[in-house]
């Protein structure tokens, strides 16, 4: 890993943007632990796991994982979103939203694909289909 990073640092011309991005997606993971909380606006290229509390706006380039026991009152957009905790706010999943059986979601959602497990709770409007990806995201 270190060697690869060193190579990437010393030879930035050779590293293609795709490689850097894919590595970022794989490596960069923001985990908000059970006792952690976030208030405000977060724009993050990697993936995020929320086990604690988050409030505000989450603009996530990678995946969003709201764990069981987590509380999120925020507008969320991410590539693939998994909700097993409690979420309140509008949600956009550019790829897929999975609402697990312990998940509770209230808010309008825009998704490309949707899966809801038995026992989950959902209140809001669902808009689904191939929507144009907002590249600014």
């Amino acid at each position: 890993m270190d060697a690869q990073q060193a190579v990437a640092d010393t030879a930035p011309h050779e590293a293609s943007e795709d490689a850097v991005e894919s590595r970022r997606d794989g490596a960069n993971r923001f985990t908000l632990g059970p006792g952690d909380s976030l208030e405000g606006k977060l724009t993050y290229a990697g993936s995020i796991t929320v086990q604690g509390r988050a409030e505000g706006e989450l603009h996530i380039g990678g995946n969003v994982d709201v764990a069981s026991g987590a509380t999120v009152k925020a507008s969320i957009d991410g590539a693939s979103v998994t909700v097993r905790g409690e979420v309140e706010g509008p949600l956009t999943a550019r790829d897929k939203l999975l609402l697990g059986k312990s998940g509770r979601l209230s808010g309008d959602i825009t998704v490309k694909r949707l899966q809801i497990e038995d026992g989950a709770s959902l209140n809001g409007h669902v808009r689904m289909g191939s929507f144009e990806q907002s590249s600014g995201g």
Binding site: K96, Q115, I116, D118, N123, G124, G129
Partner: protein, 163 residues
């Protein structure tokens, strides 16, 4: 499912208890209102209003442009209209649903298409944490009573301290 149930005469009680099972085949068509005391399976075309006291199953290939209500509603075909399921709504991977839904439990399989508003009524069975609403419910009538008292001050004057 229904064929299995029909093949087994092990549940004569339920069958005798006025629960009919109606199947609309792939070439059948209904335009209007339908009320069934029992289960309904649709493989054809339905337009209008459909209500069943039992389960409603919209099979793959079926086209339904109707409000649908039943206990358990399963959608594998195309449905355009509001859906009410007193127990559960399942949209399977081949299913497509456009319309507002009122359900107590909702399952959407990966690959299904759904557009509409979801309003989910929490039933006691599913709620993991029953919300402690009792204090608020007790507090409200007190406020109402005070308000009623202020609305009619003459009543207070006429009966000052007789109690």
């Amino acid at each position: 499912m229904s064929s299995l149930r029909a093949a087994r005469p092990q549940e004569p009680d339920q069958a005798a208890a006025a629960t009919s099972s109606v199947t609309l085949g792939p070439r059948d068509r209904l335009i209007g209102q339908l009320y069934i005391e029992g289960d309904l399976r649709v493989s054809g075309t339905v337009e209008g209003e459909v209500e069943a006291t039992g389960n409603v199953d919209v099979a793959e290939g079926a086209t339904v442009k109707a409000t649908v209500s039943g206990r358990e509603v399963g959608i594998s075909g195309q449905v355009n209209g509001a859906v009410t399921a007193s127990k559960k709504l399942v949209v399977s991977r081949s299913g497509s649903l456009t319309g507002d839904v009122r359900v107590s439990s909702l399952v959407i399989q990966d690959g299904a298409t759904f557009n509409g508003n979801v309003s989910m009524t929490r039933t006691g069975q599913h709620a993991p944490k029953p919300a402690p609403v009792e204090p608020a419910a007790v507090a409200e009538p007190v406020v109402v009573a005070k308000a009623a008292g202020t609305n009619g001050p003459s009543a207070d004057k006429s009966k000052p301290k007789r109690r």
